[in-house]
């Protein structure tokens, strides 16, 4: 019997944690009890960045990460969660599930990481004391993000100043005005109480952030082929589309709670959305430039997927 340790930033009782619990149960079933998954919730084993390096080394067996975090280590792996790329959820699911799994798996493979499959973090939105609907409002404003060359480039494209803010300081940085905005998924925004300090959330659809379930290649190679296949099957028991729907449904409820508690939700008008999207083609070229040959391959896979899904 083998026990594998799985690390996640999600706290117990959240939909992500429930998805992982379900996965753990499925692995148990699929391997007839030969492989057990022990889940460490709530960043107990460290931040996503730290855990990712440990999964690559084989110290932690499996990790469930936001695509954005994982791409800090594997820059070209950002493309499945490319900023403002997808038109709607249907198109996104089609492209990711049918066309991006293999390219993304190959990208993580170069860092000794095996992509078991996609999940969902939920969209990242701009939150602040004021709305961020139009580029005119945002020009020169500071946004607290986890900085990387691609993230920097995106925010600069939008005329904003990306500023590195540690998670523990997000609330006080907003309060004191070190940053005007930060970027968060709805869940964290509402659950952490950040919405009391920064009551306005702008649903700009900045980034549809996937989750990635990554396993150490070293650990995986130590399992039998049947066990390897069983783990993949266990994740596929619930299709990725359903994982997305679960998270998005949960966020919709939280958003209602936020409104009921006196918070503001800003939805973009078509003109505002067009203004956000106007500079994006230039940004995509920049993103490819920043991620080299491997990035170009990923972007081409994305475009090919979009073309195929449009049919």
């Amino acid at each position: 019997e083998t026990t594998l340790r799985l690390a996640t930033a999600a706290p117990q009782g959240t939909p992500w944690a429930n998805q992982l619990d379900r996965f753990a149960a499925a692995v148990d079933t699929e391997t007839a009890g030969k492989v057990k998954i022990e889940v460490f919730y709530n960043s107990q084993l460290g931040s996503e960045q730290d855990v990712l390096a440990q999964v690559a080394r084989g110290r932690i067996d499996i990790g469930y990460f936001s695509n954005t975090s994982a791409s800090l280590q594997v820059p070209e792996a950002i493309f499945p969660s490319l900023y403002m790329y997808f038109d709607d959820q249907e198109e996104r699911s089609c492209i990711l599930d049918n066309h991006m799994l293999e390219p993304t798996r190959n990208a993580f493979g170069t860092r000794s990481l095996y992509l078991i499959g996609f999940g969902e973090v939920g969209p990242n939105h701009v939150v602040g004391k004021t709305g961020a609907a139009t580029p005119a409002e945002n020009e020169g404003r500071k946004i607290g993000v986890s900085v990387s060359p691609i993230a920097n480039s995106f925010w600069e494209t939008q005329g904003m100043i990306p500023t590195s803010v540690p998670i523990a300081e997000s609330a006080s940085s907003m309060q004191t005005g070190i940053v005007d905005y930060t970027l968060f998924p709805i869940t964290f925004y509402v659950a952490s109480g950040l919405n009391k300090i920064a009551p306005v959330i702008t649903l700009a659809g900045v980034q549809q952030n996937s989750a990635v379930l990554l396993m150490s290649e070293r650990v995986r190679n130590g399992l039998s082929e049947e066990q390897q296949a069983a783990i993949d099957r266990a994740w596929a028991v619930v299709p990725a589309t359903q994982l997305r729907e679960e998270i998005l449904g949960f966020e919709a409820k939280l958003l209602e709670a936020h409104k009921a508690g006196g918070g503001t939700v800003v939805e973009l008008t078509p003109e505002q959305e067009a203004a956000w999207r106007a500079p994006m083609d230039g940004f995509y070229e920049k993103a490819v430039e920043l991620t080299g040959e491997a990035g170009r391959d990923m972007f081409e896979a994305l475009e090919a997927g979009r073309a195929a899904c449009a049919k």
């Binding site: 107990q44 084993l45 460290g46 730290d50 390096a53 440990q54 080394r57 110290r59 590195s164 540690p166 998670i167 523990a168 300081e169 609330a171 006080s172 940085s173 309060q175 004191t176 005005g177 070190i178 300090i197």
Partner: protein, 423 residues
């Protein structure tokens, strides 16, 4: 190997390391290695990985900034100028110089991140002055030593930064929460200074002296305004405020006060580096030990165990306070925070204590530890700096320890003293 045998072996191993006089960093590294070998997967390179992970954090930059800033201020004449301002304002009260000592410690504490630096900077000027003015040796020493400890509760504070890093608590919130208890201590110490020196002769308040003192001291007085104002208004992060304060201090000391020569500048840096070289590997190893304990679910089990033992939050916090007072007696602050905060904070949180408030409670306890034998850093430094017997110093500290315990109790009873400023 059974748990008991392993635990006994570990104790024997630690005793062996102590007997052959190993540095703390070796002892911690060896203990961490032992834990990995016995309870973990036996891969010692994990320790190095965790050390790296612990240091690769932007928040940690605040520590050298405040160390450097404190160093520059100590080499210059800032302390002298602050004391002159304070003395001109409160010198006419009974025990006025005592109050001036406490108040200037409080102001200097808003620049310096450490207890010893505050005590030395203010004490080296004000202690001889109090002796000359006829204050009792014990009161003068007690005021200087306990005033010094304000350095770690009034922000900026290196122990609070370390607490924030190891427990992932907002350092800015911790800084905000330190203000109230810091002012409380300044008030209580000042009242005590007036009361215990009520029979001392008083001087008259001189307008011209106040004006002159302010003229001389204005640049030094602006320092805490820039530093704390910068943080609270959102111009800078804690780290940046340290950097800006350092720049300001260098400019003031080198060009306005003209007290800082290039050679001093180099010396200040080497002193800070020496401290960082002793402290940072310790921080890294302590966090690495903490990570391997978490991996083996030790904190979770400790919380469960404590929940079984204690029925009420009050019983819990009283016990923790007693524990911390004992720890403060025998350990230095930074090490105590590094080792205990990650274990105690989750438990305190489970009993309903806010992580920020608990940080302040911890710091207040360990602040008392600066004045308690056998390992009381302010006592030890004062022994050399003011050439006093250890016993005399311990006696001098006694009434102030009582006042600090009173303040601690007040903060626990009325948490808004600390949390009022925290959003």
């Amino acid at each position: 190997m059974t748990g008991l045998v392993a635990a006994l072996l570990l104790v024997a191993f630690i005793l062996f390391l102590l007997v052959i006089r190993q540095p703390l960093v070796v002892i911690l590294l060896a203990v961490t290695a032992f834990v990995h070998l016995v309870w973990g997967r036996g891969q010692l390179d994990y320790i190095v990985e965790d050390m790296w992970v612990s240091l690769d954090k932007e928040l940690i930059l605040a520590i050298p900034m405040f160390l450097l800033c404190g160093g520059v201020m100590t080499h210059g004449s800032t302390a002298k100028r602050l004391i002159r301002v304070a003395a001109s304002l409160v010198g006419h009260l009974p025990g006025g110089l005592g109050v001036a000592c406490i108040v200037s410690c409080g102001v200097f504490a808003a620049i310096s991140g450490s207890s010893v630096v505050t005590m030395l900077a203010i004490g080296s000027v004000v202690y001889p002055a109090m002796k000359e003015a006829g204050y009792s040796n014990r009161f003068a020493l007690g005021a200087v030593m306990s005033g010094g400890t304000l350095g770690m509760i009034i922000p900026p504070s290196i122990p609070l930064i370390i607490y924030g890093i190891v427990t992932e608590t907002s350092i800015i919130d911790l800084f905000l929460a330190g203000v109230g208890p810091g002012l409380l201590l300044v008030t209580i110490f000042s009242i005590y200074a007036i009361w215990s020196n009520r029979s001392m002769p008083v001087t008259r308040m001189e307008r011209s002296e106040i004006a002159a003192a302010f003229r001389e001291g204005i640049w030094a007085l602006l320092m805490p305004v820039i530093l704390l104002g910068g943080i609270y208004s959102g111009y800078f992060t804690a780290t940046e405020s340290g950097a800006v304060a350092l720049l300001y201090a260098v400019i003031i000391e080198a060009f306005v006060h003209r007290e800082l020569k290039p050679a001093d500048f180099y010396k200040v840096y080497i002193e800070a580096i020496t401290l960082v070289g002793a402290l940072f590997p310790l921080i890294a190893v302590a966090l690495s030990l903490n990570l391997v304990l978490t991996e083996n679910r030790v904190p979770v089990e400790m919380v469960n165990l404590l929940r079984d033992w204690f029925t009420s939050p009050l019983m819990f916090i009283i016990t923790v306070n007693l524990l911390l007072l004992v720890v403060g007696a025998v350990m230095t602050t930074n090490e105590a925070i590094l080792i205990l905060a990650p274990l105690l904070m989750p438990a305190a949180n489970a009993f309903g204590f806010d992580p920020v408030l608990f940080g302040i409670i911890m710091i207040l306890n360990l602040e008392i530890g600066y004045l308690t034998p056998p390992v009381g850093l302010n006592l030890m430094v004062a022994m050399t700096a003011f050439r006093q017997r250890f016993g005399e110093l311990a006696m001098a500290a006694l009434p102030f320890i009582g006042l600090m315990i009173l303040s601690l109790a007040l903060v626990i009873w009325q948490p808004w003293i600390a949390m009022g400023l925290v959003g």
